[in-house]
Amino acid sequence: MHTYIIRRILISIPLLFGLLTINFFLIHAAPGDPTDIFYNPDMDPEARENIRRIYGLDQPLGVQYLKYIQGVVLKFEFGYSIAKKRPVKDEILEALPNTIQLSALALLLELSLGIGIGILAAVKQQSTFDNATRVTALTFYSMPSFYLGLVLLFLFAGGVSATHWFPASGMVDIVRHESMSTLGRLGDRAIHIFLPSLTLGIGAAAGISRYMRGELLEVIRQDYMRTARAKGLTERVVVFKHGLRNALMPIITIMGLSLPFLFSGAVIVEQVFGWPGMGRVAVDAAFQRDYSMFLAVNLIFGAMVVVGNLVADILYAMVDPRVRLS
C-alpha cells in the first residue's frame, strides 16, 4: 500500500510537470500580456516596457520557461504575481485554505444530503418522497450554480428583508468579527459559509442522491441482501450494514472524480458570494494574464485532481476487499 501510494505520487510528478509546461506555453500564446492591466492613456509605453523588463517578459520565451522551471524545481518558487504585486506563493497560501474550507463543507453537504436522500428514496421507492426528490434533484442538478447562487442571495441575503438571514458575501462580518466571543466568531463563520457551500454542494448532492438511490436499489436486488434477510436480520441492519456499505463503493469513485468539479464550481460560487478563494485567484489570473499566478493555480488544481483520484483509489481499496493496490 505504501509503495503503491509513493509510486502513484512519483508517477504524477512528470504528469504535473507536463501540465505546467503545456500551460506555460498556452498562456504565453494567448493574446495579450500581464501589462495590459496598466492599459490607460496616462501610462507611457515606456512605463509598460519598464514593467515588462522588471518581470523578465522581454526575454525569449525559452529563457523565461527555463528560468521559471528552475525556480519551481530548485527553490519551489512560483514567481511573482504581476497583478497582485506579491509572491504567487503568498497569495495562494492565503486563498487556498479558504477554498478548501468551502469545498470541504460543500463536499460534506454533498455527501450527507446526497447519501441521506438517496437512501430514503431507495428504501421508499415509488413513494411521494421518492418522486418529489427526483424532481427536486433534477432541478438542482441542472441549475447553473451562479443562478442558484443569485436566487439564494436574493431570497436569504437581503433581497427580501423578511428573510434576510444570511450575509451576502465574505467569510466573516468584517466590522464586528474581532469584537465577538469565540462562540460568536464560530457562528459568524457558519452563517457566512452556509449559502456558498450550499450553492456549491447542492447540485452535486442532487447527483449523488440519484446515484445513491440507483446503487442502493441495485444492491437491494442482490442475492446477498436476501441472504441477509434470510439470516433473520432486521431491515435496518440489512439496508445499512449489507446494502449501504456495498452501495457506497461507487459513490467513493464518483466523489473522487467530482473533486475537480467541486473546484471549478468554486470558481463561480466564489465570484457570486465574494468568497476569497482560489476560484477568484484563478479567474483574475486568467483574465489578467498573470502568468505565474495562472501556472501555479493550474498546478494546484492539477495536483488536487491527482490527489483526489489517489484518495478515491485508496478509500476504494480500504472498503472493497477485492481491490488490491499494487
Binding site: 415509488q126 418522486n131 442482490q222 442475492d223 446477498y224 436476501r226 441472504t227 441477509a228 434477510r229 434470510a230 439470516k231 433473520g232 436480520l233 432486521t234 431491515e235 441492519v237 449489507h242 456499505r245 456495498n246 472498503v319 472493497d320 476487499p321 477485492r322
Partner: protein, 338 residues
C-alpha cells in the same frame, strides 16, 4: 406409493393457494397498469426431512415460490404454514426468530455473498443475531460448520472473492446450515456451477440432509438434478403447478405433456437408449398476459379445443397429481366438461 408427505412423517410446511402478483408501473406517475402473475394459486406440502423438487423453465415462478415460502417476499394471497404457524401474517420480530429454522441457499454463489464480509462474518452473523453462544463459541461453531461443508476452517478470515465457485457455494451452504435449520430452500444451488462441481455440491446436500434430517425445497430448471435428491417433484409452468408426483413415479410415468417434454430434454447416460425428443415450439408466454384456459396450450403438441378455454382441474391418480384436459380424457375416458 404415496405422494402425501404426511404419510410417512409430520408436515413441516404447508403452502395453500399461494399467489404472487407483481404490479407493473408505467408513466410519470408510476401508476399500476397491470400485474405479473408470477405465482398463481399453488399448493403443496413438505414433510420433516423430506425433499420436494420444484422444476420449471426460467421465468415460471419457481424462485418466487421459494422466496415466498420463506417470506423473503410477501405473497399476494394464500397461506404458508411452517410448523403450524402462518408465516404470511407473522409480525416481523417473530418471523426473524423463525428464520433460525428455515434457510435458503441461493443460485449464484458470487452475488449471494456480501463481498465486503469475511467468510467467518458471513457464516457467523446469523449466530450473533439470534444470540447463539458467545464470541468464542460462535467462532467454534463457524469453524465446525465450515468443516462439515468441506471448507478449511483456516480460511475463516478470507473474503468470498478469494474462493472458487464451488467453494463459495459451500460457504453459502455453511451459512444456511450454521443455525441448524429444519428446512432449507435450495434455489438452483448448482446451476451456476461447473458440471464437475455440481455433483460434489449435490452430494454434500444429500449428505447433510441425511445427517441432520433436513427438509429441502429443491428448485431447479432441469429434472436430472432434481431426480437424484428429491422425494417428490412438482413441475411448474407459468406460475402454476402442472404435475406433482413421487420422484420415481414422475420419471417413470410422466403424465403431463410439459413434463414429458422436459424429460425428453434430459441427457441420457446410455447412448444406446434412444428416446424420442419432444421439442416445444415457441417461447414461454409472458406471465404479464398468460394464455387463457390451460396456460400450456400455446405450446402443447396435444392441445385440443377445450384447452384454450377452460383451466384444467386437479386430477389425482393415486397421489400422482396432474392438471391436463388431455390426460383427464385419457384416464377418465370421457371428454372434460367445463
Amino acid at each position: 406409493m404415496s405422494t402425501e408427505a404426511s404419510k410417512n412423517s409430520e408436515v413441516l410446511l404447508r403452502v395453500e393457494h399461494l399467489k404472487n402478483y407483481f404490479p407493473v408501473r408505467q408513466g410519470l406517475l408510476s401508476r399500476v397498469t397491470a400485474y405479473v402473475k408470477a405465482v398463481d394459486d399453488i399448493s403443496f406440502e413438505i414433510g420433516v426431512g423430506e425433499t420436494l423438487g420444484l422444476v420449471g423453465e426460467s421465468g415460471c415462478g419457481k424462485t418466487t415460490v421459494g422466496h415466498s415460502v420463506l417470506r423473503l417476499i410477501n405473497p399476494t394471497e394464500g397461506t404458508v404454514l411452517f410448523q403450524g404457524k402462518d408465516l404470511t401474517h407473522l409480525p416481523a420480530a417473530e418471523l426473524r426468530a423463525m428464520r433460525q429454522d428455515m434457510q435458503i441457499i441461493f443460485q449464484d454463489p458470487f452475488s449471494s455473498l456480501n463481498p465486503r464480509m469475511t467468510v467467518g462474518a458471513i457464516i457467523g452473523e446469523a449466530l450473533a443475531i439470534h444470540g447463539r453462544g458467545d464470541r468464542k463459541e460462535r467462532a467454534e461453531m463457524v469453524r465446525d460448520t465450515m468443516q462439515k461443508c468441506g471448507l478449511d476452517p483456516a480460511y475463516i478470515n478470507r473474503f468470498p472473492h478469494e474462493f472458487s465457485g464451488g467453494q463459495r457455494q459451500r460457504i453459502g451452504i455453511a451459512r444456511a446450515l450454521v443455525l441448524s435449520p429444519k428446512f432449507i430452500v435450495c434455489d438452483e444451488p448448482v446451476s451456476a456451477l461447473d458440471v464437475s462441481i455440481q455433483s460434489q455440491i449435490i452430494n454434500l446436500l444429500v449428505e447433510l440432509k441425511e445427517r441432520y434430517n433436513l427438509a429441502y425445497l429443491f428448485i431447479a430448471h432441469d429434472l436430472s438434478v432434481v431426480q437424484y435428491i428429491s422425494d417428490r417433484v412438482a413441475v411448474m409452468y407459468l406460475g402454476k403447478i402442472v404435475e406433482l408426483a413421487d420422484s420415481t413415479e414422475l420419471y417413470r410415468n410422466p403424465l403431463h405433456p410439459y413434463t414429458q417434454a422436459l424429460l425428453s430434454a434430459v441427457p441420457v447416460p446410455d447412448p444406446t437408449r434412444r428416446k424420442q425428443r419432444t421439442l416445444l415450439p415457441g417461447d414461454v408466454p409472458s406471465p404479464l398476459n398468460p394464455p387463457s384456459g390451460c396456460r400450456f396450450h400455446t405450446r402443447c403438441p396435444l392441445a385440443i379445443d377445450i384447452c384454450k378455454k377452460v383451466e384444467p382441474r386437479e386430477l389425482d391418480v393415486e397421489g400422482h397429481k396432474v392438471w391436463c384436459h388431455v390426460v383427464e380424457e385419457q384416464i377418465t375416458g370421457s371428454p372434460p366438461s367445463s
